[in-house]
Amino acid sequence: MTVTVGTAAVEIDSVAVHFRSKKIDVTALREVSLDVAPGEFVSIVGPSGCGKSTLLKLVSGLLKPSSGKVRLLGDVVTGPRHDIGYVFQRAALLEWRSARRNILLQAEMRGMPDAGKRADELIEMTGLRGFEDALPHELSGGMQQRVALCRALLHRPRVLLMDEPFGALDALTREQMNVELHRIWRETGTTVLLVTHSIAESVYLSNRVVVMTPRPGAVQEIIDVDLPVERDYSETMALPKFSTAAAHIRELLGASMRP
């Protein structure tokens, strides 16, 4: 694998996806192009069913585009990629494994030796200390999602894909998770591609926000969010830049929902 310095971490080049079932043909994505720079945090927002999740599956190689090309870290994506971390809306933890062993699943599947120390670091970083031995059903939704995040970061992936990771959490927990995710992103320098329904979340976390059109999804506009690197949650929310960006995105989504 050769990665040229300076190339985009993720390159989506005029990609389209059509699903064919017996009864109907659905175009999930038409002509999407997007470049994500290494270390960048990009959020994707858009109305339900616009193909946001499909876009992440394309980047991970879980899904093949009907046309167009996706490059991840310089290589064309042809099948499931192992150099990414993935977090879903549901934590998708193994019920019979403790939090720590759920995190270590990543290492076991990869045959990574000595992952224990790394797991402990992540447990510390995400505030899971003290819950290492708890089974998933003994953890709150927020805690479960932290475990899923640790599992996704264990192998130090250069690209982290997050599909509505905080969608099932209550508003307060969600804000806490946003703050933590932002901190973790700054500390790890990972490229993050986040799908979300929350405009506030997208603006708070990202360098850029991609607003998509309703199905068949296409990029409507890409908004640069120019917020300070160190962000206090409530202070950031009060910034004029924040509200301008949020209002703009809301307007775009509102406009795209009109007939």
Partner: protein, 259 residues
């Protein structure tokens, strides 16, 4: 005590039944040659214990052997069907047909083919116990989260690791439900096998007692036979508790005590 809390109701009901049984027999409401008294039944159980032990052992052996074969073959068939659509399409209709054929009616044929020994009894037990194992295992293997499997493919562990670490353990709760049904059916299978042609086993004991109108022995045989089924069922519950503490702890006790 947890077990006391759970068992006093059925024990009370059992005692009540015994009392009614004692009452109808001692008052002469029902003739002793039709229904022997509990005392007479107990007498037989004690006096003829060597005889009963021998035949109980034979039936238990046939049952356990049949059950184990059904479990192994059933699990293997289920795995094959889940991993290969071709095998599923080929095997499933035949399995369904085999389930519809009354196994009790095939038993005499087995005697013709295989004689009066151990094999035809085990075979009937296998045939009866096999179906619930296959169905529960297929359901279990298919119950695994698609997101979990997608995650596994981004972890790059390959199909074998995915099976060992994710799919198989996830299917165990379903499998145990099937095994518990199967083990009680296996007892029936072994006894049916003995009915159609045997010179030992509890089925043989019952047929002989029937011929001699020896109702105390008939009752004794029935009781012992039921106890064998109950014992095997309880052993499976214990195995489940030991192997799946994470699952058992999540169920309510009401479910644990029902089949």
């Amino acid at each position: 005590m947890d077990w006391l809390e759970r068992s006093w109701r059925p024990v009370l009901l059992l005692v009540a039944c015994l009392a009614v049984w004692q009452l109808v027999t001692t008052t002469g409401l029902i003739a002793p040659y039709l229904v022997p008294s509990p005392a007479a039944t107990l007498d037989v159980l004690v006096e003829k214990q060597a005889y009963i032990w021998h035949h109980t052992w034979v039936t238990t052996y046939e049952t356990v052997l049949g059950f184990l074969i059904a479990a192994v073959v059933g699990v293997l068939a289920a795995v094959a069907m889940v991993y290969s659509a071709t095998i599923e399409k080929t095997l499933y209709p035949i399995l369904l047909f085999a389930q519809v054929v009354p196994k009790i009616a095939i038993a005499p044929l087995f005697v013709v083919w295989l004689g009066f020994g151990l094999v035809p009894k085990v075979l009937v037990a296998v045939l009866i116990a096999f179906f619930p194992v296959v169905i529960s295992m297929v359901t279990g293997l298919k119950s695994v989260d698609t997101e979990m499997l997608e995650l596994a493919s981004t972890m790059g562990g390959g199909p074998l690791k995915t099976f060992v670490k994710i799919r198989f353990p996830a299917s165990l709760p379903h499998l145990f439900a099937g095994l518990k049904v199967a083990v009680t059916l296996a007892v029936t299978g072994a006894v049916v096998g003995e009915f159609v042609g045997a010179n030992e086993g509890l089925g043989f004991v019952i047929l002989q007692a029937n011929g001699n109108i020896d109702t105390p022995m008939l009752f004794a045989g029935l009781i012992v036979m039921s106890l064998v089924g109950v014992l095997l069922f309880v052993l499976l519950e214990l195995a489940e508790r030991f192997m799946l503490p994470w699952h058992v702890s999540r169920r309510t006790s009401a479910v644990t005590t029902t089949i």
